[in-house]
Amino acid sequence: MSDKHPIYLDYSATTPVDRRVAEKMCAFLTLDGVFGNPASRSHAFGWEAEAAVEEARKNVAALVGANPKEIVFTSGATESDNLAIKGVAHFYKKNGKHIVTSKTEHKAVLDTCRQLEREGYEVTYLDPEPNGLLDLKKLEAALRDDTILVSVMHVNNEIGVIQDIAEIGEICRGRKILFHVDAAQSPGKVAINLEELKVDLMSFSAHKVYGPKGIGALYVRRKPRVRLEAQMHGGGHERGMRSGTLPTHQIVGMGEAFRIAGEEMAEENERILALRSRLWDGLKDMEEVYINGDIDQRIAGNINISFNYVEGESLLMALKDLAISSGSACTSASLEPSYVLRALGRNDELAHSSIRFSIGRFTTEKDIDYTIDHVRSAVNKLRELSPLWDMYKDGIDLESIEWAAH
């Protein structure tokens, strides 16, 4: 896509469907393909669709070291998060009503927790350290006798940092507390082995991994067995955990996307990391630019940069040729500064001036070079217009100014 504009650098919001995935999906839709309802038990049309679903289930499971029987298909990671958190909370409410999560989770987790608070549950929202990672001692200290669930994301969607889910899993298992991980952003980017990880539930999305929208999965551990209260009823599909006709083509697409991710992950991450380094190398000598989030414990495809003294939305407007975002897509319609960056302790100005660049499978060096040029000139232009930038250059400490109220 190198000669096409705008240049797409928003792979954390969603990825294009890989051509190989799309081709495979098309074979499961029309009259000349396998279009049956996988729940139809009385004819070959149904059986063929069911076989395709099971093949996809194996592919999804294989990428994350799970047993195919532990994979429940849903309409996406949002539904998976809802199902995991509400499903566990409702099923285990007799054991306690306390849940621990972090302030930098995706809205799908945070809003679900807020809903549970309305239902009488208690939720502790942990503050991350300034690098975006959780201090596990603080996490441990937040656990109580009535804690039934800890929910921590694997890779943050805005700043790309990777939480230590292996260690958190050990802590939770030791206390017999269930552990849910929102892994919407990590498959294909970070190796996941659920055979070793002490994770009980894990949410996946297809459209962040070059698969289609509208399909996701929830891993539900069988040994030791995790129980859930279903959130969608009718038909008893997916072992009763999620009813509703299985969209065969989307499931097949997710399976293929996960299979490709497994095959190409190592090589792809190396290439993407080189592109990210190239991008940062092209920007880091600018004044007053900061990376948000830990730079080492981070996926290759993400870099989140604050351009101080530049207003993020103005920068986005000035960079119309780049498809980038100032935070999570799900909150991009609001002009509130990113809650993730604020949780890191960034002040409003820095949070407001942040841009997330997310690099992916189809990004080229040419895209990156173009991006560097445009960002540099746009930032410089905006700063020239900014009285705050002038004051900063004049050596005035902006923190010390008391602004007059209007």
Binding site: Y8, D10, A13, T14, V17, R19, A22, M25, C26, L29, T30, L31, F35, G36, N37, A39, S40, R41, S42, H43, A44, F45, G46, S75, G76, A77, T78, N82, H106, K107, A108, L110, D111, R114, H207, P212, K213, G214, I215, Q231, M232, H233, G234, G235, H237, S243, G244, T245, L246, P247, T248, H249, Q250, L316, A323, S325, A329, C330, S332, A333
Partner: protein, 383 residues
């Protein structure tokens, strides 16, 4: 060549629908919630689909909430209204789809559920509805057309009764939309479930058409999509496909109806020649594409397997309860004897079926029945 006669379970995608979906899958990317141009193109595709779906059922685009399918829509309307706390008693018909009956059964202590009976032809009547209504009933749900028998309910008449009492009315129109004229407005309902893959659209998309006054609480949390009533990144290609399929369904309703009726007529004439065959709800107004019948003295599952062997794909009833050995709850509610109900076969035609398919089915059926009867006679003779 296999003959697919199970269109009420799912339909193959219309080739034109695939063309509407492909560009959204491949050439462009973008999360509709993103502000940039890619995101806006996706958003536009969703809004166009909203108009197309609204037009199919004579509703306002602003009333359409996209979901992952009919099951989610049915769950959302029942649980969402119960969660609002403003309705503590609902009535649903006994012949509803499992995706309506099961969430109803899950509502728990906060919401009492009453069941509306049907007559011997599978119809909810003014009388059976009145019998189920209680002074505190706040919501009634009766499907527009039944997935098994194809029986069409007089939703407009039934909603007229509940509207006089200030009761909300929901109808599951998953099977009706695209097969008969459906009017959200004229029927006077407040919520309507729709499914894409029943009308030659892709699976993975559905809608709940809602009156803005309906007290409804979101059931999926984590994002303000769909007016805050359904969180989650929108499944744009499937939604666009649903829209394209809805537009085609509206345009082709007349010809699809005529074609289906011709096939149904031919099948029913053929079945009339088989003394042991009995069409269910024969005297009721039914979907033009659906015939459900029993074959006295036969086990339905065995018949289905034998038909499959000859390349004919039919079902006993709902795909979602497929493989179960209990008789259909729909036939039970109609008072069909258990043994006859267990022999049920549902034939649901689609736009690509032909009279030759009907002949193949009738021939296969005739052979199975004759052979089985003969072998039964032979077994009897040997004893």
């Amino acid at each position: 060549m296999a003959v697919y006669l199970d269109h009420n379970a799912t339909t193959p995608l219309h080739p034109e629908v695939l063309q509407a979906m492909l560009p959204l899958m491949q050439a462009m990317v973008g999360n509709p919630a993103s502000l940039h141009r890619f995101g806006r193109l996706q958003k536009d595709a969703i809004e166009r689909a909203r108009e197309q779906v609204a037009a199919l059922v004579d509703a306002h685009p602003g009333q359409v909430i996209f979901t992952s399918g009919g099951t989610e829509s049915n769950n959302l309307v029942l649980k969402g209204i119960a969660a609002s706390g403003s309705v503590s008693r609902i009535a649903v018909s006994k012949v509803e789809h499992m995706s309506l009956l099961q969430p109803a059964a899950q509502l728990g202590d906060d919401c009492t559920v009453d069941y509306i009976g049907v007559d011997a032809e599978g119809r909810v009547t003014a009388q059976t509805l009145q019998q189920a209504l209680q002074p505190d009933t706040g919501l009634v749900s009766v499907m527009s057309a039944n997935n098994e028998t194809g029986v069409i309910q007089h939703v407009q008449q039934l909603a007229g009764i509940t509207n006089e009492k200030g009761i909300w009315f929901h109808t599951d129109a998953s099977q009706a939309a695209g097969k008969i004229a459906v009017s959200y407005n004229d029927w006077g309902v407040h919520a309507m479930t729709l499914s894409s893959h029943k009308l030659y659209g892709p699976p993975g998309a559905g809608a709940l058409v809602v009156d803005k006054r309906l007290p409804l609480r979101a059931q999926l949390h984590g994002g303000a999509q769909e007016n805050g009533l359904r969180a989650g990144t929108e499944n744009v290609p499937a939604i666009a496909g649903f829209g394209a399929a809805a537009e085609l369904a509206k345009k082709q309703l007349g010809e699809r109806t005529a074609q289906a009726l011709e096939l149904r007529e031919a099948l029913e004439q053929g079945l009339a020649q088989i003394p042991s065959a009995k069409v269910f709800a024969r005297d009721a107004e039914r979907l033009p594409n659906t015939v459900q019948f029993g074959v006295q003295g036969f086990d339905g599952e065995t018949l289905l397997m034998q038909l499959d062997r000859t390349g004919i794909a039919v079902s006993s009833g709902s795909a979602c309860t497929s493989g179960k050995t209990e008789p259909s709850h729909v036939l039970e509610a109609m008072g069909v004897p258990r043994e006859l109900a267990l022999s049920a076969i549902r034939v649901s035609f689609g736009k690509d079926n032909t009279l030759a398919d009907v002949s193949s089915l009738l021939q296969a059926l005739g052979e199975i029945i004759n052979t089985t009867s003969k072998s039964a006679v032979m077994v009897a003779a040997n004893v």
